[in-house]
């Protein structure tokens, strides 16, 4: 991290779009973990996520009971803040909030 002597004054940001490098996941205390076997691909987590940090990925998935889905829902852990709305709204309880431990 740069020292105070190296930074432009007044907290001015000189590089456009640099906020892309700012990962807000540091705030999270609980991480959502999606059980891909239980998930019915209803898209409710995707639509409720305020971030949005639920990604709808074109990635086929075959469940243990041999059901094939063309898409997979994944969590963008760079930006998920662990609010738990997805877990609460999931109609089949396929998302579990797991404590962040490092």
């Amino acid at each position: 991290m740069p020292s105070w002597k190296e930074l432009p004054i007044g907290a001015v940001i000189l590089e456009p779009g640099s906020s892309r490098r700012y990962k807000t996941h540091e705030w999270r205390t609980l991480r959502p973990v999606i059980n891909q076997d239980k998930c019915i691909r209803c898209r409710i987590c995707w639509s409720y996520c305020p971030e949005p940090a639920i990604l709808e990925v074109d990635k086929p998935y075959v469940t243990s009971t041999n059901r094939r889905y063309e898409i997979t829902y994944m969590v963008d852990y760079d930006y998920c803040k662990g609010c738990g709305i997805c877990a609460r709204e999931c109609p089949v309880k396929a998302i579990e909030m797991v404590p962040e431990v490092r």
Partner: protein
């Protein structure tokens, strides 16, 4: 030397703002400041000043608009008093933290309640922790000159902080004195308009006013501290050059009186003139007394205060504001005590609170202060009053 014309303090300030060739003025009327921006509106209407006058709905907006205009690279001016100044409080921190060289005049006035439009230093002292460079004039010529000095200091690339220049409401704002006017050409050669700060420019985009989380915020505060420190050196260089160009010498502090004083009164604003007159006429120059005027309040000129107060037996500090509950309810007294203590100067101090809400600080009051100081100068510090002495209040 320019033209000498009779002007009220507010007009003197307005003429200086005109000479500084400001680009944007954003203000909301409030007594006793109003006639500064009224005069400026007149200059714009007459075509004497090519500036944008932004009429806003409050002082909070006035300073917010000034912040925006300054961020866009304009030379910006605003002015206010009392309730208007404290309504600007929030934005004052933003202006200094964004390092925008805004210049503002404070026509010093008491704070409500009760409603009081007259002069004291309540508003000035209330905003002294906002990160602005702050100075206060003793007379109208100084109030005029301070505006030009302020732009020079504010826009110095090593400083880049907003500057507040103050003058006492009514006692100065509405009192006419002869003013040696600084003409535009001279003002701009002394304080040239140069965009030394980051501005909003579509060709060179930057972000101003973004979030600074715990990983970043502290560093910017540390920078601000350094800039304020630097402004002290820039102030000295600027007053030196000002003296060379315009023939008037100002100091961060100015001393008047006996060469080897035993008792000194410390004061700010027009009251300094009263104390000088008292010392010259009433007391006579042979007594070992003096007055130390504090012109520069932020950054507080500790070095010079130590220089003048070292060896003095007792220092009386005249405060025209009151902070109930503080270890020293006189804010200037508080600064003086901290300075003396920090630098190991053992002069005793006495706090005088006087002239609140426009009550004049008369020669009689000043006489009482000097008598008190003489009476207590040889007493041990432990026997000195621990509370301020209220001079001029009805007991």
């Amino acid at each position: 030397m320019g033209k000498i014309v009779p002007l009220s303090g507010n007009s003197a300030v307005a003429y200086a703002v005109k000479s500084a060739d400001v680009d944007v003025i954003s203000a909301y009327p409030i007594t006793p400041q109003t006639t500064i921006v009224e005069k400026l509106a007149e200059f714009i209407a007459n075509g004497e000043l090519d500036a944008e006058m932004i009429h806003v709905e409050s002082e909070h907006s006035a300073l917010s608009a000034a912040v925006g205009a300054s961020a866009a690279g304009a030379r910006v001016y605003t002015a206010s008093s009392s309730q208007g100044i404290v309504l600007m409080y929030e934005i004052m921190f933003i202006a200094s933290s964004l390092r925008l060289p805004i210049v503002m005049t404070i026509a010093a006035r008491a704070l409500s309640a009760p409603i009081n439009i007259w002069n004291d230093h309540s508003d000035f002292m209330a905003v002294s922790d906002t990160g602005w460079v702050m100075m206060m004039a003793e007379n109208n010529q100084e109030a005029h000159d301070d505006v030009i000095l302020a732009y020079r200091i504010a826009e110095d690339p090593e400083v880049l902080l907003p500057v507040a220049t103050a003058l006492d409401g009514y006692f100065m704002t509405h009192t006419i004195e002869p003013i040696d006017l600084i003409e535009r050409e001279d003002a701009l050669s002394f304080a040239p308009k140069r965009k030394t700060w980051f501005t909003l420019d579509p060709d060179k985009p930057v972000t101003i006013g973004a979030l600074g989380d715990p990983q970043w915020y502290f560093e910017f505060k540390r920078q601000q501290y350094e800039a304020m420190k630097k402004s002290r050196e820039v102030f000295e260089k600027s007053v030196d050059e000002f003296a060379k160009v315009f023939g008037r010498r100002y100091g961060a502090v100015e001393y008047f009186g006996d060469e080897n004083p035993e008792v000194v009164l410390v004061a700010m604003g027009h009251v300094v003139g009263n104390i000088k007159a008292y010392l010259s006429r009433v007391r006579g120059k042979d007594s070992r007394a003096g007055v130390l005027k504090i012109k520069l309040y932020r950054p507080f000129p500790e070095d010079l205060i130590v220089k003048y107060l070292e060896g003095v037996k007792i220092v009386g500090v005249v405060d025209r504001a009151l902070v109930p509950g503080s270890a020293s309810p006189g804010p200037l007294h508080s600064e003086i005590v901290a300075t003396l203590r920090k630098h190991g100067v053992d002069a005793k101090t006495l706090s005088f609170v006087s002239g609140l809400g426009g009550r004049p600080v008369t020669h009689e009051h000043i006489g009482v202060m000097f008598s008190k100081l003489s009476e207590l100068k040889d007493k041990p510090a432990s026997e000195l009053p621990k509370e301020p002495l209220f001079i001029g209040v009805r007991e």
